[in-house]
Chain length 146, copies 2
């Protein structure tokens, strides 16, 4: 919190979420794990928003502590850690979908075609599939580690 | 941003939203304008999360600049300012609803009954109506200004 004052927990379910992901970065990390299928720290570092490594480390730690992600060893490379979403993390999909829909509608500079937003106005499954496909394309630019 | 570094705008519609409301407080202000029907600064100050007045002032300024709220004079009291959501602000309703649904499901300490979450699992209109009714009840505790 900007003024360092201890924040009061209200019991509001919206407030519960904001206590976990109420910042500029956490939902972007979840976005990348969910839609772009990123799994490694270095992949997450390559998001177009340029997250700083110390911020990414802190966010991953908090997400693990709060049960939204799990970390395990990469069976292909024991020195590497893989991050995956838990059910609790994956269940934020509707929140991200609605945020994408809103941003697609109101961002005057978005590269997302308006037809994309209107066509999938209420078809969440198709929207999610398309977002995944679009982000998988972007992920191909990430240099593979093996 | 915690490290003061200029954040890169990526063009991602999720990132567009987080650039506006990616903090712990902004969506709580929108929640109160939307569901609790609050309109005045002093009412917004009385949220159970205890927002600081300087943070509330900054958030309201940003929300107005980004077109999510409008401010006008109170016809009943010219010295007062009324804050109302624009269409752009109101269109965040699905984001808040999904966040409430997620928090209601995963917060072990939530006072929201699980039956509330499951009963309205996909009925957004009913969920919104119930949230509004619940928050209107809470708003009655706010001392009226006239």
């Amino acid at each position: 919190m900007s003024n360092g004052r201890k924040r009061r927990v209200s019991g509001c379910p919206i407030d519960y979420g904001l206590d976990i992901f109420g910042d500029r970065w956490t939902l972007l990390v979840i976005r990348d794990l969910l839609f772009a299928r990123k799994r490694h720290f270095k992949e997450l570092m390559k998001s177009p928003e340029r997250i700083a490594s110390n911020i990414l480390t802190a966010r991953l730690k908090k997400l693990e502590e709060r049960g939204l992600i799990a970390r395990c060893g990469d069976p292909d490379n024991r020195k590497q850690v893989i991050y995956t979403l838990t059910d609790k993390g994956r269940d934020l999909t509707p929140v991200l979908v609605e945020m994408a829909r809103w941003g697609g509608r109101y961002d005057p500079n978005t590269p997302v075609p308006k037809s994309f937003v209107t066509r999938f106005a209420r078809d969440n499954d198709q929207l999610i599939a398309d977002v995944c496909a679009a982000m998988a394309g972007a992920a191909h630019k990430v240099k593979p580690r093996r």
